[in-house]
Assembly symmetry: C2
Homo-oligomer: 325 residues x 2
């Protein structure tokens, strides 16, 4: 590991990497630090047979990158803790590939490997990534900023990753005609792409009042937004962004979108005055689709409603829960 | 957890704690960030029967606090990742106590709980602590700064924690007359006290050229210093700081001191001109003993020698390795 990164100062503020008691990072004046961590456990969050070690590395950093993206921040440096069982295929090649994946994916979004800890374990493989990002002081996009009248917006498409996982686990029936759609959703599950560009665009252009990343399913994140902002949210089921692949694979595409997990899209609220600007400039700048899926309403108690087949009903807070196999 | 810390900004730069996608920390102008993590695995780094959950929490943050101390930094904020097996005694009371221990111990040294991740696991209990500290820009104490002629200094006493672990595991023969000594070394193992005051005193008074914390045994850390600084180090076995308890318990006290683990003392090198100042002011300021254990020498290749019973010999790099039970 040390040979990879050495002590040479990296870009983006890292002054000292692996090789001392701690890493040293020089904060940019006028910026605050954003701190987040994501813990991945074998057979809970990933299965070795479902992805290559490189993809696993990329996936391990993606969750933290997405958290930084949702604050509108720039990923800068990360620490990796590994608990390693002594068994196949967890050899030197496996870990070289794992770190290659982490460094490639985090590096693409601007973050350097700064250190961490490794140890042996009698249990499953454990990967914990802690990410430090930076954001202009006082400007971070929070869950608590949504205001009545705001548009509710969502990047990309929802549900693909959960459907991809179901396909890998043999829980999704498919015909050979659907091979391409299947590959697409599996790829979404294996290699999530955090919306760092989108988060930065929203922050720098002051387009969002509140933002959260969709990691545990849209319905769960909508409830977080409503609770933290003290508002009601009305969603139009017909406006939810579903990929062509997902619709081809399942008649229940909408359920995947509402309750899936690991989408790593951004869910944000924007003042209605920004509608035209978002329509025109968001997709080219953020390199992803944008959907307007609902509205923020004033409410005495936080709640989320959904219009489905012409009727309004309360949306349950039933996000995705990682299962113990 | 959230009820404990809420979103209220903590002291020491934490602007936003648990409850959003990430925590926000405002760096102090003129300071750099210090980043470190320590991973503890059940039955590798700790055994539930050997300590209370409160002590386990304190121990879990101590390793990271010690890393920040060794850089001369101030601990500020930390993230905790927990992988939790579903079995006794890992209930709500256990985790309340665990977090109480972390918060009390880290809080005593100035660090606030900022966030983290929790998940279920089929394996052992895993605790990963990632600590962010601050240090005056460009002033951090590194492993690489030792210069020929420097004094080699060590805080506190060495080997007690390893002997305490051996006692808990029944590997240390004892008589009833030694009950007090036994309690003392066991207490050192259960509740390590990081040398944050010492690190700050060394940095602010510009007393040290290089510094490292003794977490994996003195001999191993001496080799780190020698390698990173490109020097030779000569140690006098007779000068190593051994507690009365350890000497009472074992005729091999010196071996415990050289190869033990989890001492969390500071090992540093200081210019000889600072000898008198250190003798007079270090202990009152840092609230711990100080020993002068050797000298830094010029050398073509890094090496460590020890004078034992009047004869010099090479000191092997055989630090403590955590065992899989």
């Amino acid at each position: 590991l040390r040979a990879r990164r050495g002590r040479k100062p990296g870009k983006g503020g890292l002054r000292l990497g692996i090789g001392d008691d701690a890493a040293i990072f020089r904060p940019k004046p006028g910026f605050e630090s954003v701190l987040t961590s994501d813990l991945l456990i074998e057979n809970v969050h990933f299965t070795l047979g479902h992805c290559s070690p490189w993809e696993l590395g990329a996936k391990a950093v993606a969750a933290s990158l997405s958290d930084v993206a949702s604050m509108g921040g720039l990923p800068r440096a990360y620490l990796v803790s590994l608990a390693i069982p002594r068994r196949k295929p967890l050899n030197r090649h496996f870990f070289k590939s794992l770190y290659d994946g982490m460094e490639a994916w985090a590096g693409a979004f601007g973050a350097c490997l700064a250190g961490g800890d490794t140890t042996a374990t009698s249990g499953p493989l454990v990967i914990d990534v802690m990410m430090l990002g930076e954001v202009e002081s006082g400007r971070a996009l929070l869950r608590s900023g949504a205001r009545p009248g705001d548009l509710v917006c969502c990047t990309g498409t929802l549900g693909d990753s959960a459907a991809g996982l179901a396909a890998l686990q043999g829980r999704l029936k498919k015909s050979t005609a659907q091979a391409a759609a299947l590959r697409a959703v599996i790829q979404r599950h294996r290699l999530p792409s955090p919306r760092c560009l989108a988060g930065r665009f929203l922050l720098t252009k002051r387009l969002a009042h509140a933002c959260i990343d969709v990691s545990d399913g849209l319905s769960s994140e909508l409830h977080h937004l409503a609770r933290e902002s003290g508002v009601a949210i009305d969603i139009d089921a017909g406006a939810l962004p579903l990929s062509r692949s997902l619709q081809e694979l399942s008649p229940r595409a909408l359920d995947w979108a509402l309750c899936g997990g690991e989408d790593y899209e951004l869910l944000f609220t924007a003042p209605p005055a920004k509608l035209e600007y978002l329509r025109r400039h968001f997709s080219p700048a953020a390199d992803c689709r944008l959907s307007f899926i609902g509205k923020v309403k004033k409410s005495a108690k936080p709640q989320v409603r959904i219009k489905r087949d012409g009727a309004w009903k309360a949306l349950q807070d039933n996000g995705y829960e990682h299962a113990i196999f």
